[in-house]
Symmetry: C2
Subunit: 222 residues, 2 copies
DNA sequence: CTCTATTTTTGAACATGTTCAACATTGCGA
DNA sequence: TCGCAATGTTGAACATGTTCAAAAATAGAG
Protein backbone atom coordinates (compact mmCIF):
# COMPACT_ATOMS: atom_id res chain seq x y z
CA UNK A 1 0.00 0.00 0.00
CA UNK A 2 1.91 2.98 -1.28
CA UNK A 3 1.23 6.31 0.33
CA UNK A 4 1.14 9.51 -1.67
CA UNK A 5 4.71 9.81 -2.78
CA UNK A 6 6.83 12.87 -3.22
CA UNK A 7 6.93 12.17 -6.90
CA UNK A 8 3.19 12.13 -7.14
CA UNK A 9 2.98 15.48 -5.40
CA UNK A 10 5.54 16.86 -7.80
CA UNK A 11 3.56 15.71 -10.82
CA UNK A 12 0.44 17.29 -9.44
CA UNK A 13 2.27 20.54 -8.84
CA UNK A 14 3.75 20.39 -12.32
CA UNK A 15 0.31 20.04 -13.88
CA UNK A 16 -1.05 22.87 -11.76
CA UNK A 17 1.82 25.14 -12.78
CA UNK A 18 1.44 24.22 -16.42
CA UNK A 19 -2.26 24.92 -16.22
CA UNK A 20 -1.74 28.35 -14.68
CA UNK A 21 0.72 29.11 -17.44
CA UNK A 22 -1.69 28.09 -20.16
CA UNK A 23 -4.51 29.96 -18.45
CA UNK A 24 -2.45 33.13 -18.32
CA UNK A 25 -1.45 32.63 -21.94
CA UNK A 26 -4.80 31.88 -23.51
CA UNK A 27 -7.34 32.58 -20.82
CA UNK A 28 -9.34 30.00 -18.93
CA UNK A 29 -11.83 29.25 -21.65
CA UNK A 30 -9.47 29.01 -24.59
CA UNK A 31 -7.10 26.80 -22.64
CA UNK A 32 -7.61 23.12 -23.41
CA UNK A 33 -6.90 20.22 -21.16
CA UNK A 34 -4.80 18.73 -23.95
CA UNK A 35 -2.63 21.85 -24.03
CA UNK A 36 -2.26 21.74 -20.29
CA UNK A 37 -1.34 18.08 -20.28
CA UNK A 38 1.15 18.64 -23.06
CA UNK A 39 2.68 21.64 -21.28
CA UNK A 40 3.09 19.50 -18.19
CA UNK A 41 4.56 16.65 -20.21
CA UNK A 42 1.92 14.10 -19.30
CA UNK A 43 -0.91 12.39 -21.11
CA UNK A 44 -4.38 13.83 -21.09
CA UNK A 45 -5.62 11.22 -18.67
CA UNK A 46 -2.98 12.10 -16.12
CA UNK A 47 -4.39 15.59 -15.76
CA UNK A 48 -7.71 13.99 -14.89
CA UNK A 49 -6.06 11.62 -12.47
CA UNK A 50 -4.90 14.59 -10.40
CA UNK A 51 -7.75 16.98 -10.97
CA UNK A 52 -11.38 16.05 -11.26
CA UNK A 53 -12.02 18.64 -13.92
CA UNK A 54 -10.73 21.78 -15.51
CA UNK A 55 -12.71 23.67 -12.92
CA UNK A 56 -11.02 21.77 -10.13
CA UNK A 57 -7.70 23.15 -11.27
CA UNK A 58 -8.94 26.67 -10.63
CA UNK A 59 -10.13 25.65 -7.20
CA UNK A 60 -6.72 24.20 -6.44
CA UNK A 61 -5.16 27.46 -7.53
CA UNK A 62 -7.40 29.46 -5.22
CA UNK A 63 -6.74 27.11 -2.34
CA UNK A 64 -3.02 27.45 -2.83
CA UNK A 65 -3.30 31.23 -2.97
CA UNK A 66 -5.31 31.18 0.21
CA UNK A 67 -2.67 29.11 1.96
CA UNK A 68 0.02 31.51 0.91
CA UNK A 69 -2.05 34.48 1.95
CA UNK A 70 -2.87 33.29 5.46
CA UNK A 71 0.37 34.23 7.29
CA UNK A 72 0.22 37.72 5.80
CA UNK A 73 -3.35 38.12 6.93
CA UNK A 74 -2.36 37.01 10.41
CA UNK A 75 0.26 39.75 10.47
CA UNK A 76 -2.21 42.30 9.12
CA UNK A 77 -4.65 41.53 11.87
CA UNK A 78 -2.01 41.47 14.56
CA UNK A 79 -0.75 44.93 13.73
CA UNK A 80 -3.94 46.94 13.38
CA UNK A 81 -6.63 47.83 15.86
CA UNK A 82 -9.28 49.96 14.23
CA UNK A 83 -11.87 48.17 12.16
CA UNK A 84 -11.18 50.44 9.23
CA UNK A 85 -7.48 49.67 9.11
CA UNK A 86 -8.06 45.99 9.67
CA UNK A 87 -10.55 45.73 6.84
CA UNK A 88 -8.49 47.89 4.57
CA UNK A 89 -5.44 45.70 5.05
CA UNK A 90 -7.22 42.39 4.73
CA UNK A 91 -8.94 43.34 1.52
CA UNK A 92 -5.84 45.04 0.18
CA UNK A 93 -3.87 41.87 0.71
CA UNK A 94 -6.37 39.87 -1.28
CA UNK A 95 -6.00 42.27 -4.15
CA UNK A 96 -2.24 42.05 -3.98
CA UNK A 97 -2.22 38.29 -3.73
CA UNK A 98 -4.37 37.81 -6.76
CA UNK A 99 -2.98 40.65 -8.83
CA UNK A 100 -0.69 38.40 -10.91
CA UNK A 101 -3.64 36.17 -11.74
CA UNK A 102 -6.38 38.74 -11.79
CA UNK A 103 -7.86 37.50 -15.03
CA UNK A 104 -7.83 33.90 -13.90
CA UNK A 105 -9.79 34.84 -10.83
CA UNK A 106 -12.57 35.70 -13.24
CA UNK A 107 -12.94 32.04 -14.09
CA UNK A 108 -13.55 31.33 -10.43
CA UNK A 109 -15.92 34.09 -9.56
CA UNK A 110 -17.76 34.73 -12.79
CA UNK A 111 -20.50 32.30 -11.89
CA UNK A 112 -23.17 33.22 -9.40
CA UNK A 113 -25.16 30.05 -9.75
CA UNK A 114 -24.84 28.33 -6.35
CA UNK A 115 -25.04 25.00 -8.15
CA UNK A 116 -22.08 25.73 -10.37
CA UNK A 117 -18.87 24.27 -8.93
CA UNK A 118 -16.92 27.47 -9.48
CA UNK A 119 -19.49 29.79 -7.95
CA UNK A 120 -18.31 31.62 -4.83
CA UNK A 121 -21.58 30.41 -3.34
CA UNK A 122 -21.39 26.74 -4.24
CA UNK A 123 -20.86 23.72 -2.03
CA UNK A 124 -17.61 23.02 -3.81
CA UNK A 125 -16.22 26.32 -2.61
CA UNK A 126 -17.68 26.13 0.90
CA UNK A 127 -14.33 25.40 2.53
CA UNK A 128 -12.62 28.23 0.76
CA UNK A 129 -15.50 30.54 1.57
CA UNK A 130 -15.58 29.65 5.26
CA UNK A 131 -11.88 30.26 5.61
CA UNK A 132 -12.31 33.60 3.89
CA UNK A 133 -15.19 34.63 6.09
CA UNK A 134 -13.19 33.65 9.11
CA UNK A 135 -10.71 36.41 8.44
CA UNK A 136 -13.50 38.94 8.44
CA UNK A 137 -14.78 37.37 11.64
CA UNK A 138 -11.41 38.04 13.22
CA UNK A 139 -11.17 41.50 11.72
CA UNK A 140 -14.45 42.40 13.38
CA UNK A 141 -14.21 40.48 16.64
CA UNK A 142 -10.92 41.74 17.94
CA UNK A 143 -11.45 45.30 16.85
CA UNK A 144 -12.50 48.13 19.13
CA UNK A 145 -15.84 49.02 17.66
CA UNK A 146 -19.35 49.11 19.05
CA UNK A 147 -21.66 47.14 16.83
CA UNK A 148 -25.41 47.40 16.64
CA UNK A 149 -26.78 44.09 17.83
CA UNK A 150 -29.02 43.90 14.80
CA UNK A 151 -26.18 43.54 12.33
CA UNK A 152 -23.32 42.44 14.56
CA UNK A 153 -23.72 38.69 14.09
CA UNK A 154 -24.01 39.00 10.35
CA UNK A 155 -21.28 41.53 9.80
CA UNK A 156 -18.50 39.09 8.90
CA UNK A 157 -20.65 37.46 6.23
CA UNK A 158 -21.81 40.83 4.96
CA UNK A 159 -18.26 42.10 4.77
CA UNK A 160 -17.22 38.98 2.90
CA UNK A 161 -20.03 39.64 0.47
CA UNK A 162 -18.92 43.23 0.12
CA UNK A 163 -15.36 42.17 -0.56
CA UNK A 164 -16.61 39.58 -3.04
CA UNK A 165 -18.36 42.35 -4.92
CA UNK A 166 -15.21 44.42 -4.89
CA UNK A 167 -13.19 41.52 -6.26
CA UNK A 168 -15.71 40.97 -9.03
CA UNK A 169 -15.59 44.61 -9.95
CA UNK A 170 -11.81 44.47 -9.86
CA UNK A 171 -11.52 41.41 -12.06
CA UNK A 172 -13.37 43.17 -14.85
CA UNK A 173 -12.09 46.66 -14.17
CA UNK A 174 -10.37 47.79 -17.33
CA UNK A 175 -9.25 51.20 -16.04
CA UNK A 176 -5.47 51.75 -15.77
CA UNK A 177 -4.11 49.99 -12.72
CA UNK A 178 -7.71 49.26 -11.79
CA UNK A 179 -8.03 52.79 -10.44
CA UNK A 180 -11.81 52.60 -10.45
CA UNK A 181 -11.76 49.68 -8.08
CA UNK A 182 -9.43 51.58 -5.78
CA UNK A 183 -11.88 54.46 -5.74
CA UNK A 184 -14.84 52.20 -5.17
CA UNK A 185 -13.04 50.47 -2.34
CA UNK A 186 -11.99 53.68 -0.65
CA UNK A 187 -15.35 55.42 -0.77
CA UNK A 188 -17.56 52.46 0.04
CA UNK A 189 -15.47 51.27 2.94
CA UNK A 190 -15.75 54.72 4.41
CA UNK A 191 -19.48 54.70 3.92
CA UNK A 192 -19.83 51.31 5.54
CA UNK A 193 -17.95 52.40 8.61
CA UNK A 194 -19.92 55.59 8.83
CA UNK A 195 -23.14 53.63 8.51
CA UNK A 196 -22.07 51.45 11.40
CA UNK A 197 -21.44 54.52 13.51
CA UNK A 198 -24.68 56.19 12.53
CA UNK A 199 -26.58 53.10 13.55
CA UNK A 200 -26.30 54.26 17.14
CA UNK A 201 -28.44 57.30 16.50
CA UNK A 202 -31.98 56.65 17.74
CA UNK A 203 -33.00 59.06 15.09
CA UNK A 204 -32.17 56.56 12.37
CA UNK A 205 -33.91 53.63 13.94
CA UNK A 206 -36.52 53.45 11.15
CA UNK A 207 -33.75 52.80 8.71
CA UNK A 208 -31.84 50.20 10.64
CA UNK A 209 -34.71 48.21 12.05
CA UNK A 210 -35.85 46.67 8.75
CA UNK A 211 -32.23 45.86 7.97
CA UNK A 212 -31.93 43.93 11.20
CA UNK A 213 -35.21 42.11 10.63
CA UNK A 214 -34.21 41.23 7.14
CA UNK A 215 -30.85 39.83 8.16
CA UNK A 216 -32.45 37.80 10.90
CA UNK A 217 -34.99 36.35 8.51
CA UNK A 218 -32.50 35.59 5.76
CA UNK A 219 -29.58 34.30 7.76
CA UNK A 220 -31.58 32.79 10.60
CA UNK A 221 -31.05 33.43 14.32
CA UNK A 222 -27.55 32.41 15.34
CA UNK B 1 -34.63 38.08 -53.59
CA UNK B 2 -36.97 36.36 -51.13
CA UNK B 3 -37.80 38.18 -47.94
CA UNK B 4 -38.11 36.37 -44.64
CA UNK B 5 -41.14 34.27 -45.22
CA UNK B 6 -43.92 33.38 -42.86
CA UNK B 7 -42.81 29.80 -43.00
CA UNK B 8 -39.33 30.73 -41.93
CA UNK B 9 -40.65 32.67 -38.98
CA UNK B 10 -42.75 29.67 -38.05
CA UNK B 11 -39.76 27.36 -38.11
CA UNK B 12 -37.79 29.73 -35.97
CA UNK B 13 -40.63 29.96 -33.50
CA UNK B 14 -40.98 26.17 -33.48
CA UNK B 15 -37.31 25.74 -32.65
CA UNK B 16 -37.54 28.36 -29.92
CA UNK B 17 -40.57 26.68 -28.39
CA UNK B 18 -38.95 23.27 -28.60
CA UNK B 19 -35.85 24.66 -26.94
CA UNK B 20 -37.81 26.18 -24.07
CA UNK B 21 -39.53 22.86 -23.59
CA UNK B 22 -36.29 20.95 -23.47
CA UNK B 23 -34.76 23.58 -21.19
CA UNK B 24 -37.66 23.28 -18.78
CA UNK B 25 -37.43 19.49 -18.96
CA UNK B 26 -33.72 19.00 -18.50
CA UNK B 27 -32.36 22.38 -17.56
CA UNK B 28 -30.25 24.60 -19.74
CA UNK B 29 -27.02 22.73 -19.31
CA UNK B 30 -28.31 19.21 -19.74
CA UNK B 31 -30.31 20.17 -22.81
CA UNK B 32 -28.47 19.34 -26.02
CA UNK B 33 -28.83 21.07 -29.34
CA UNK B 34 -29.53 17.67 -30.89
CA UNK B 35 -32.45 17.15 -28.52
CA UNK B 36 -33.77 20.58 -29.31
CA UNK B 37 -33.47 20.05 -33.05
CA UNK B 38 -35.16 16.67 -32.75
CA UNK B 39 -37.96 18.10 -30.63
CA UNK B 40 -38.51 20.76 -33.26
CA UNK B 41 -38.43 18.18 -36.02
CA UNK B 42 -35.46 19.69 -37.83
CA UNK B 43 -31.87 18.72 -38.37
CA UNK B 44 -29.15 19.91 -36.08
CA UNK B 45 -27.87 22.40 -38.60
CA UNK B 46 -31.25 24.07 -38.92
CA UNK B 47 -31.14 25.10 -35.29
CA UNK B 48 -27.87 26.84 -36.01
CA UNK B 49 -29.30 28.46 -39.08
CA UNK B 50 -31.83 30.26 -36.92
CA UNK B 51 -29.80 30.77 -33.78
CA UNK B 52 -26.13 31.56 -33.62
CA UNK B 53 -25.65 29.41 -30.59
CA UNK B 54 -27.34 27.71 -27.69
CA UNK B 55 -26.86 30.92 -25.76
CA UNK B 56 -28.55 32.92 -28.47
CA UNK B 57 -31.70 30.90 -27.91
CA UNK B 58 -31.83 32.12 -24.34
CA UNK B 59 -31.36 35.69 -25.52
CA UNK B 60 -34.23 35.24 -27.95
CA UNK B 61 -36.36 33.95 -25.11
CA UNK B 62 -35.58 36.97 -22.99
CA UNK B 63 -36.25 39.34 -25.83
CA UNK B 64 -39.61 37.74 -26.46
CA UNK B 65 -40.49 37.94 -22.79
CA UNK B 66 -39.52 41.59 -22.80
CA UNK B 67 -41.77 42.28 -25.76
CA UNK B 68 -44.68 40.60 -24.06
CA UNK B 69 -43.99 42.44 -20.84
CA UNK B 70 -43.85 45.95 -22.32
CA UNK B 71 -47.58 46.72 -22.60
CA UNK B 72 -48.14 45.59 -19.03
CA UNK B 73 -45.33 47.81 -17.85
CA UNK B 74 -46.85 50.72 -19.71
CA UNK B 75 -50.08 50.15 -17.87
CA UNK B 76 -48.27 49.81 -14.56
CA UNK B 77 -46.58 53.13 -15.04
CA UNK B 78 -49.70 54.87 -16.25
CA UNK B 79 -51.69 53.91 -13.20
CA UNK B 80 -49.33 54.72 -10.34
CA UNK B 81 -47.85 57.96 -9.15
CA UNK B 82 -45.67 57.39 -6.14
CA UNK B 83 -42.18 56.12 -6.79
CA UNK B 84 -42.69 53.27 -4.38
CA UNK B 85 -45.79 51.96 -6.10
CA UNK B 86 -44.25 52.41 -9.52
CA UNK B 87 -41.14 50.49 -8.62
CA UNK B 88 -43.05 47.84 -6.79
CA UNK B 89 -45.27 47.18 -9.78
CA UNK B 90 -42.53 47.22 -12.38
CA UNK B 91 -40.38 44.79 -10.47
CA UNK B 92 -43.36 42.66 -9.52
CA UNK B 93 -44.31 42.33 -13.16
CA UNK B 94 -40.87 41.10 -14.03
CA UNK B 95 -41.16 38.42 -11.40
CA UNK B 96 -44.55 37.40 -12.70
CA UNK B 97 -43.47 37.36 -16.31
CA UNK B 98 -40.51 35.13 -15.66
CA UNK B 99 -42.10 32.93 -13.03
CA UNK B 100 -42.92 30.08 -15.46
CA UNK B 101 -39.30 30.05 -16.63
CA UNK B 102 -37.61 31.04 -13.43
CA UNK B 103 -34.99 28.34 -13.68
CA UNK B 104 -34.20 29.16 -17.27
CA UNK B 105 -33.56 32.74 -16.33
CA UNK B 106 -30.65 31.38 -14.36
CA UNK B 107 -28.94 30.45 -17.59
CA UNK B 108 -29.15 34.05 -18.65
CA UNK B 109 -28.09 35.78 -15.51
CA UNK B 110 -25.72 33.34 -13.90
CA UNK B 111 -22.72 34.91 -15.56
CA UNK B 112 -21.28 38.18 -14.36
CA UNK B 113 -18.40 38.25 -16.78
CA UNK B 114 -19.08 41.27 -19.03
CA UNK B 115 -17.36 39.37 -21.84
CA UNK B 116 -19.67 36.39 -21.61
CA UNK B 117 -22.53 36.65 -24.12
CA UNK B 118 -25.13 35.74 -21.54
CA UNK B 119 -23.97 38.16 -18.90
CA UNK B 120 -26.45 40.87 -17.97
CA UNK B 121 -23.53 43.22 -18.44
CA UNK B 122 -22.30 42.05 -21.84
CA UNK B 123 -22.44 43.77 -25.18
CA UNK B 124 -24.70 41.03 -26.49
CA UNK B 125 -27.31 41.97 -23.92
CA UNK B 126 -26.89 45.73 -24.27
CA UNK B 127 -30.16 46.20 -26.14
CA UNK B 128 -32.10 44.18 -23.63
CA UNK B 129 -30.44 46.01 -20.78
CA UNK B 130 -31.09 49.47 -22.19
CA UNK B 131 -34.74 48.70 -22.70
CA UNK B 132 -34.93 47.42 -19.15
CA UNK B 133 -33.23 50.47 -17.72
CA UNK B 134 -35.58 52.65 -19.68
CA UNK B 135 -38.50 51.42 -17.65
CA UNK B 136 -36.75 52.47 -14.49
CA UNK B 137 -36.00 55.79 -16.12
CA UNK B 138 -39.70 56.28 -16.68
CA UNK B 139 -40.60 55.01 -13.23
CA UNK B 140 -38.36 57.68 -11.73
CA UNK B 141 -38.88 60.58 -14.13
CA UNK B 142 -42.62 60.84 -14.07
CA UNK B 143 -42.94 60.21 -10.37
CA UNK B 144 -43.52 62.89 -7.80
CA UNK B 145 -40.36 62.61 -5.77
CA UNK B 146 -37.60 65.03 -4.93
CA UNK B 147 -34.27 63.52 -5.79
CA UNK B 148 -30.90 64.52 -4.45
CA UNK B 149 -28.93 65.86 -7.41
CA UNK B 150 -25.99 63.68 -6.46
CA UNK B 151 -27.77 60.42 -7.21
CA UNK B 152 -30.62 61.56 -9.42
CA UNK B 153 -28.98 61.00 -12.78
CA UNK B 154 -27.76 57.56 -11.80
CA UNK B 155 -30.88 56.35 -10.09
CA UNK B 156 -32.39 54.46 -13.04
CA UNK B 157 -29.20 52.52 -13.54
CA UNK B 158 -28.84 51.91 -9.84
CA UNK B 159 -32.40 50.69 -9.59
CA UNK B 160 -31.86 48.39 -12.53
CA UNK B 161 -28.83 47.00 -10.75
CA UNK B 162 -30.88 46.57 -7.60
CA UNK B 163 -33.60 44.75 -9.49
CA UNK B 164 -30.96 42.59 -11.19
CA UNK B 165 -29.72 41.54 -7.78
CA UNK B 166 -33.24 40.74 -6.71
CA UNK B 167 -33.79 38.60 -9.80
CA UNK B 168 -30.56 36.74 -9.17
CA UNK B 169 -31.56 36.07 -5.60
CA UNK B 170 -34.98 34.96 -6.80
CA UNK B 171 -33.69 32.58 -9.43
CA UNK B 172 -31.79 30.63 -6.82
CA UNK B 173 -34.24 31.12 -3.97
CA UNK B 174 -35.27 27.64 -2.86
CA UNK B 175 -37.70 28.77 -0.15
CA UNK B 176 -41.38 27.87 -0.72
CA UNK B 177 -42.92 30.21 -3.27
CA UNK B 178 -39.67 32.19 -3.10
CA UNK B 179 -40.85 33.79 0.11
CA UNK B 180 -37.35 34.93 0.98
CA UNK B 181 -37.14 36.99 -2.17
CA UNK B 182 -40.49 38.58 -1.39
CA UNK B 183 -39.18 39.55 2.02
CA UNK B 184 -35.93 40.87 0.61
CA UNK B 185 -37.82 42.86 -1.97
CA UNK B 186 -40.24 44.36 0.49
CA UNK B 187 -37.70 45.43 3.10
CA UNK B 188 -34.99 46.67 0.80
CA UNK B 189 -37.30 48.70 -1.38
CA UNK B 190 -38.56 50.42 1.74
CA UNK B 191 -35.00 51.10 2.82
CA UNK B 192 -34.08 52.54 -0.54
CA UNK B 193 -36.99 54.93 -0.53
CA UNK B 194 -36.26 55.97 3.02
CA UNK B 195 -32.64 56.54 2.11
CA UNK B 196 -33.73 58.80 -0.72
CA UNK B 197 -35.86 60.82 1.68
CA UNK B 198 -33.16 61.01 4.31
CA UNK B 199 -30.75 62.36 1.75
CA UNK B 200 -32.35 65.74 2.18
CA UNK B 201 -31.20 66.03 5.77
CA UNK B 202 -28.14 68.28 5.92
CA UNK B 203 -27.22 66.27 8.93
CA UNK B 204 -26.43 63.23 6.78
CA UNK B 205 -24.37 65.07 4.22
CA UNK B 206 -21.15 63.24 5.24
CA UNK B 207 -22.79 60.02 4.24
CA UNK B 208 -24.25 61.04 0.94
CA UNK B 209 -21.43 63.17 -0.35
CA UNK B 210 -18.99 60.29 -0.98
CA UNK B 211 -21.79 58.36 -2.62
CA UNK B 212 -22.37 61.19 -5.06
CA UNK B 213 -18.67 61.57 -5.76
CA UNK B 214 -18.33 57.87 -6.34
CA UNK B 215 -21.21 57.69 -8.76
CA UNK B 216 -19.90 60.65 -10.68
CA UNK B 217 -16.48 59.09 -10.96
CA UNK B 218 -17.74 55.65 -11.95
CA UNK B 219 -20.55 56.56 -14.29
CA UNK B 220 -19.06 59.79 -15.58
CA UNK B 221 -20.75 63.18 -15.77
CA UNK B 222 -23.78 62.72 -18.02
C1' DC C 1 14.91 -10.85 -5.34
C1' DT C 2 9.95 -12.20 -6.54
C1' DC C 3 5.36 -11.58 -6.45
C1' DT C 4 1.26 -9.03 -5.72
C1' DA C 5 -1.51 -5.10 -4.78
C1' DT C 6 -1.60 -0.30 -5.31
C1' DT C 7 -0.66 3.82 -7.61
C1' DT C 8 0.20 6.16 -11.77
C1' DT C 9 -0.03 6.76 -16.80
C1' DT C 10 -1.82 6.21 -21.21
C1' DG C 11 -4.70 7.18 -25.15
C1' DA C 12 -8.88 5.65 -27.31
C1' DA C 13 -13.74 6.50 -27.00
C1' DC C 14 -17.77 9.31 -26.09
C1' DA C 15 -20.91 13.38 -25.88
C1' DT C 16 -21.87 17.78 -27.24
C1' DG C 17 -21.46 22.73 -29.14
C1' DT C 18 -20.32 24.45 -33.43
C1' DT C 19 -18.95 24.79 -38.48
C1' DC C 20 -19.44 23.91 -43.18
C1' DA C 21 -19.98 22.31 -47.79
C1' DA C 22 -23.41 20.22 -50.24
C1' DC C 23 -28.17 19.71 -51.35
C1' DA C 24 -33.21 21.18 -51.58
C1' DT C 25 -36.75 24.52 -51.83
C1' DT C 26 -38.72 28.81 -52.97
C1' DG C 27 -39.76 33.19 -55.12
C1' DC C 28 -39.61 35.91 -59.02
C1' DG C 29 -38.17 38.12 -63.38
C1' DA C 30 -38.26 37.04 -68.19
C1' DT D 1 -43.26 28.04 -67.58
C1' DC D 2 -38.12 28.25 -67.03
C1' DG D 3 -33.92 29.45 -64.85
C1' DC D 4 -31.50 31.37 -61.24
C1' DA D 5 -30.37 33.51 -57.07
C1' DA D 6 -31.68 33.70 -52.38
C1' DT D 7 -33.26 31.08 -48.63
C1' DG D 8 -33.62 27.02 -46.01
C1' DT D 9 -32.03 22.16 -44.62
C1' DT D 10 -29.08 18.43 -43.96
C1' DG D 11 -25.73 15.59 -41.56
C1' DA D 12 -20.85 14.71 -41.53
C1' DA D 13 -16.79 16.59 -39.44
C1' DC D 14 -14.20 18.91 -35.84
C1' DA D 15 -12.66 20.43 -31.15
C1' DT D 16 -12.80 19.76 -26.49
C1' DG D 17 -14.20 18.21 -21.62
C1' DT D 18 -14.57 13.88 -19.56
C1' DT D 19 -14.55 8.70 -18.80
C1' DC D 20 -12.54 4.34 -18.72
C1' DA D 21 -10.24 -0.01 -19.42
C1' DA D 22 -5.86 -1.47 -19.94
C1' DA D 23 -0.91 -1.04 -19.37
C1' DA D 24 3.17 0.45 -16.79
C1' DA D 25 5.59 1.67 -12.73
C1' DT D 26 6.16 1.22 -7.91
C1' DA D 27 6.14 -0.26 -3.12
C1' DG D 28 6.36 -3.53 0.30
C1' DA D 29 5.76 -8.36 2.18
C1' DG D 30 7.86 -12.79 2.18
Amino acid sequence: MARPSVKSEATRARILEAALGVFRESGFHAATMREIAAAAGVALGAAYYYFDSKNAIVLAFYQKAQDEMAPGLDRDLASARTLETRLRRVIQRKFETFAPNRALLGALSTNIDPDHPLSPFSKATADIRDRDIDFFERAVRESAVRLPSSVGPYLPRLLWLYQMGLMLFWVYDKSPAQARTALLFDKTLGMILLALKLSELPFLRPFYRPAGELLKALYGEA
